[in-house]
Amino acid sequence: MEKIVSAEVRIDYSKLLDARAEDFEELANKVRPKLMPRPNVDYTIELKHKPPLREGETHIAFTVSACPECLALLTARIFERDGKVWIRKVCPRHGEFEEVYWGSYELYRRFRKWQFDGKGITTPHVPLTAPCPMNCGLCPRHKSHPALVNLVATNRCDLSCWYCFFFAERAGYVYEPTLEHIKYMLRRARELRPYPAIALQITGGEPTLRDDLVDIVKLAKELGYTHVQVNTTGIKLAFDPALAVRLREAGTNVIYMSFDGVTPYTNAKNHWEVPYALDNLRKARLPVVLVPTVIRGYNLHEVWDMIRFGLKHIDVVRGVNFQPISITGRVPRKQREKMRVTIPDVLHEIEKQSDGALKVDDWYPVPSVVPVSHFVEAMTGEIKLELTTHFACGAATYLFKDDGEIVPITRFVNVNGFLKYLEEKANEIKSGRNKYIVTLETVASLRKFVDLSKAPRRLRRRGKALRHLFNILVKHDYSSLGEFHYDALFVGMMHFQDLYNHDAARVQRCDIHYVTPDGRLVPFCSFNVIPELYRDRVQRAYSIPLDKWMTIKGLKLKPSEYKYKRNIKKLIAGEPYRRHYEGIIDVDAIPYEEHVMASKRFGIPVVE
């Protein structure tokens, strides 16, 4: 093993193509310490200086953040000004940075009430040797166990989107762990205690480019992952119905599909292919979550239309999960302000665009569901999955379709009262009250929290809504959860950080992690926000130079020759295109030339 690791931690991965999972473990144990961020080399610690508070500002909290220029660890101040929440930090070398942290202080205060911290990690994969967030792996101080583990299956992609620097041709290497290597990585995530990883997202690059994607899904299932989702543009699925069937049969639970808008102008990535992908997934009975990245001045005006699109195709679309933009790279403040959008901004836009059909008050922060875990845990005595992420990281709600009308869950369930009641009851059991008596009280009280007269018709019949809640909470019958969701659209929001709004308090609570080839689990907002110390460093170490990889694979084509080329004429002429977008956009109003221009401008060539 020593012979294939160079001093700069570059591994000759071409010599590992036949290695076993155990070999990867041995190698990882050797290289892991060398791949960690190095103090005074990769970053410095400059925590002494506290940023000033100016007139008209109200202090909220201090935290630790990183300098966007040099990654120095700085003390940052979170404060309120003009009804918004801001973060300010001062680097001794690069000066002051100020960024909007959350678009509404009022919502910030409401969400903050729902913060619960997790049980942490009792089997950390790295020792505590550096300050947060330069010690990720997960370290002993991490507060949340993983809710979702990401596996980068490849950095190859069949697109060359203008903003992306991640794909193989731009990086100059191919990162693509072998199936045996993946076995080692997935085992590592399952080793975590007190709660092992149970949900996996296979991502990329574009994971459908791997011929053995179905085998990865099968492997994950064998290793005990109960939920497997594939994060894709859906382009391959649009043209390969058999792949959708094979993925479903292998155990894939959901396709997580990029979907940045309802028009070609806002979603040049896969606007034309989405209808065909949805048809193939529908036939394969493989549900989809649509994932829009939201950018001010680009697609913020379409957020409600994206939800309408999801509702129109609710037979196959299970959710829409918005991701307000994470600004990567060094971007001047004025430019950032043009793009920056935070969770409250998107929620307000949705309320405005939906004419109040979905209001800001209908949303809850991710950790608000922790009382359900606490209650079930107290009842069963078993540790349960807890979504203890930071309250500012995400928000969610459910929309039910009822005879064409849209009913948010909050209109018939007193979510606030119900969750608080569950937390009280969980605490009572914990402090020694008889759990059977508490159960009886809870069952008797359920009716108090559900207004059946306002519930969707399906849930109204014979008190079905109450029965589902009873089955979930008391019988722990999670098929009831599935039934409850039927005809419901999950609408979520997850705001990943960047170096401008970076807050270590959020990193410490992160529950979306990446499993790295050296067997670490790195929080999303360290992996992608500090890529030079996490994502790029570790993937480059375990990669094969592009030329060499092509020789190994016997490929002679230039990258531009194997990239996806779009046949727009054929795609817009097809019946699925009209059927999917009708009622959402005026499909005849967009001239062909504009379709072509949108695709080309984005970086995807068109077959004329």
Partner: protein
């Protein structure tokens, strides 16, 4: 003679979660089945330089990190103890307010400063603690600052 460092602190914060906590450590030397209280040889103001020490003591045990500490209003003192060479293990008793339990115990190996046990001090955990320290349960009861049945 080696040293052992720890932090005494109080913290009131609202972000990201509400905490109103105080933690008062007391250190005991364990040698040959006997246990004696140690007094700090130095007390000094806590500063950012001690962030890693704070995290190593409380990050994974009490779930309170340096980032939590600086988020709100806090007072903190760095305590340094001279540890006699005869000590084989150290028992750190944390008297706390605002947490799930009022008393916690941490056991450290003197040679490596590695923590081998962390547990709330409740009657049912006392045997485990006594085993980890090699000290009789009854002896422990006499030094632990609370009434244990």
């Amino acid at each position: 003679m080696s040293t052992h460092r720890t932090v005494r602190f109080t913290l009131t914060t609202s972000t990201p979660r509400a905490l109103n906590v105080s933690v008062e450590p007391t250190l005991y030397c364990v040698a040959g089945g006997e246990i004696t209280r140690l007094e700090p040889s130095r007390s000094e103001p806590f500063s950012e330089e001690h962030s890693l020490l704070f995290d190593s003591r409380y990050g994974d045990t009490l779930g309170i990190t340096f980032v939590d500490l600086i988020s709100g209003n806090y007072t903190a003192t760095l305590l340094t103890y001279d540890v006699p060479e005869t000590c084989s293990k150290l028992l750190e008793v944390l008297r706390t307010k605002g947490l799930e339990h009022g008393l916690y115990a941490a056991v450290y190996e003197c040679e490596s400063d590695s923590r081998v046990l962390f547990t709330p001090i409740v009657a049912k955990k006392l045997s485990k603690l006594s085993e980890a320290l090699g000290v009789k349960r009854n002896l422990l009861k006499t030094i632990i600052p609370c009434k244990i049945p």
